[in-house]
């Protein structure tokens, strides 16, 4: 099974560990991170009978719904371009450190920073203390290559039983990437992670909806900061949002085609906002 799909389509060999279920050999399992909120607050206490899922329009039988206790692998992707200096950089480091400090021993984390270059400062590891130490060496310089950074962070995702989450912080428009917006959106569709974006007031006017499209493609959210003082709070809320998600899994009822599968997940008989990625790619 390939690394970036493992969070979405899980082979029978590994799913027993991941979801505590037993599946027939050669059958794949689709797992989706699902956020359920009402009036902005997580809805607790749901079971698999509350969810309705379709895969390319075909109704699915939900195998399991789990909440909170599956470990996370959090890829921090932080903008360290020239505009992130001084107090903003200090606040960013503090926010990153706070998030890493809130992770559990079973979680993993990695650190990617970017300006016009992209650096993987800490590979995905359960050694959270080493990732926190990596935060200390960052400084703000250069232009902004956020699209390339997201792409390379996606590529640097390793096999893991954890739920992949990318937490991207940026405060400006891209002016140095090689890749296009569409390039990265396509890769995000093919990856298995959920992307949350914490966006600081941009010095450059943002002319596109790329970030909104990116979180939509992965079932994540945008968190808008009004000042650098908000960063720690928003990082914390993004993590809490991930913890409050349901992990919905199902075994597709028919042998699925290769390529894109549209997935729709909703609640039966309850009013709530359901947020999940819109589908998955079967390689």
């Amino acid at each position: 099974m390939n690394a970036t799909m493992i969070a979405l389509v899980v082979s029978s060999a590994t799913v027993g560990v991941v979801a505590g279920q037993t599946f027939r050999a050669d059958v794949e399992v689709v797992r989706m991170d699902v956020s359920v909120t009402r009036d902005g607050r997580p809805v607790a206490g749901l079971t698999k009978d509350d969810f309705i899922a379709t895969d390319d329009g075909a109704p699915q039988t939900i195998d399991a719904v789990r909440l909170d206790d599956v470990p996370l692998s959090v890829q921090l992707v932080l903008d360290t371009s020239l505009s992130v200096q001084g107090g903003r950089l200090t606040a960013l480091i503090k926010a990153g450190d706070g998030l890493l400090g809130a992770l559990r021993p079973s979680d993993h984390a990695g650190l990617v920073t970017f300006s016009d270059s992209v650096a993987i400062r800490a590979r995905m590891t359960p050694d959270l203390a080493s990732v926190r130490r990596s935060l200390g060496g960052i400084k703000g310089e250069g232009q902004t290559a956020v699209r390339d950074a997201v792409q390379l962070a996606l590529a640097a995702t390793h096999d893991s039983d954890a739920r992949p989450m990318m937490l991207l912080f940026t405060d400006g428009a891209d002016n140095a990437s090689w890749l296009t917006e569409e390039d990265v959106l396509e890769s995000a569709h093919r990856s298995g992670g959920v992307t949350h974006i914490v966006r600081s007031p941009a010095r450059d006017e943002l002319r596109s909806n790329w970030m909104e499209d990116l979180v939509d493609a992965t079932g994540g959210r945008i968190w808008s900061a009004t000042s650098q003082r908000d960063l720690a709070e928003l990082f914390s809320r993004a993590l809490a949002e991930m913890r409050a998600r349901y992990l919905v899994s199902y075994t597709p009822t028919a042998a699925g085609k290769r390529g894109w599968h549209d997935v729709k997940i909703r609640l039966g008989g309850r009013n709530a906002d359901v947020l999940a990625r819109p589908g998955y790619f079967k390689p």
């Binding site: 270059s117 650096a119 290559a145 390379l152 590529a155 917006e181």
Partner: protein, 340 residues
């Protein structure tokens, strides 16, 4: 560190230094021994060390040192490049002071040589330096100064093109995006930039830098069919690794746009083989995601993780800053007698 000088070089340098010292003394100016030593080190293999020292000088110190070089002193060319080199490692304010020290010397060098070729090319470098700092008005002024001397200056016109490209990127940050609508005004601007590069090629048909930029602009203007020829020419003919790298990277984008993924991967792999850089990692992982070759994506991700913290500056980043190859800098360094 540099080794002992060969006897002939040592003699030649000694004669030059003595002559310069005598001239300075005759004109009532005191020689600057530290500066003399740094210039010698700069030309004789200790370029980085000399630049590091001079970059730490104040503007007054730099200008005072430059003034000790008298008319006809051949070290003036080296001094110009020493200060220009220092500029590239300095914050803006200090950089301006070093650049002004170099600028005063450039005009003197032209008078010494009775030719303004070096001055024109140096103005091109000056414009580039300003462009890398996004000081576009100063860059444009330096371009105009170069074109006043030589209206066909490829160096200056390339910087002018790079300036126009920077303007375009500001109005459309996702220029290459296949869904980005290229509206009529933007398309017309890109057309004018392409014309500028064609103008360079009409006077300098061997300019692979102009050919590369022409290919890129044609690709950005949704004209991949016309972009192919100049890009393939650069890929096959350029000796500069950066030029070949960029040509293959651009050709990968061209093939991707034409939905020929295997050909796109082949070009991206060729670029990557020349020099693995952020942009080639990004291009390859993107294309392999598209092909569903996720094992290769993972392999590239691991390689990038190992290489990224110490990676040199990306050729694509340099392209955005106006640097298209190193021919200009190498020419100026060779004119300055800097041993590489």
């Amino acid at each position: 560190m540099q080794g002992p000088w060969p006897p002939r070089v040592a003699s030649a340098v000694l004669i030059v230094l003595l002559a310069a010292t005598n001239r300075a003394a005759a004109q009532g100016r005191r020689p600057d021994q530290e500066y003399d030593t740094l210039l010698r080190r700069y030309t004789e293999g200790g370029r980085l060390e000399a630049v590091a020292v001079v970059a730490g000088w104040s503007g007054d110190r730099a200008r005072a040192a430059a003034r000790t070089l008298e008319t006809g002193d051949p070290r003036r060319r080296a001094a110009v490049m020493l200060h220009a080199d220092a500029v590239l490692s300095l914050p803006a304010k200090s950089a301006h002071e070093h650049l002004s020290a170099a600028e005063a010397l450039v005009e003197a060098v032209s008078r010494d040589a009775g030719s303004r070729v070096s001055e024109t090319r140096w103005r091109g470098l000056q414009a580039l330096v300003y462009l890398t700092r996004n000081e576009r008005v100063r860059a444009e002024r330096a371009v105009n100064q170069a074109l006043t001397i030589d209206v066909t200056s490829a160096d200056a016109l390339l910087v002018r093109g790079a300036l126009r490209e920077a303007d375009v990127r500001e109005s459309e940050p996702n220029l290459r995006g296949r869904w980005a609508p290229v509206h009529e005004a933007l398309s017309e601007t890109l057309h004018k930039i392409a014309q500028l590069y064609r103008q360079i090629l009409s006077n300098h048909p061997d300019s692979l830098e102009a050919r590369l930029r022409l290919g890129w602009i044609l690709l950005a203007n949704k004209s991949p069919g016309n972009a192919r020829e100049p890009l393939e020419a650069v890929a096959s003919r350029a000796r500069s690794p950066d030029l070949r790298y960029l040509a293959h990277l651009f050709l990968a984008a061209l093939e991707q746009r034409e939905k020929r993924l295997d050909e796109a991967v082949a070009h991206a792999e060729q670029a990557h083989k020349i020099s693995p850089q952020k942009s080639s990692y990004a291009a390859l992982t993107r294309l392999e995601f598209e092909r569903g070759n996720l094992d290769r994506v993972r392999q590239l991700g691991e390689q990038f993780a190992a290489a990224s913290p110490t990676a040199p500056i990306d050729a694509w980043t340099l392209y955005l800053q106006g640097f298209t190859g190193t021919e200009l800098i190498e020419w100026l360094l060779s004119q300055a007698g800097v041993r590489r």
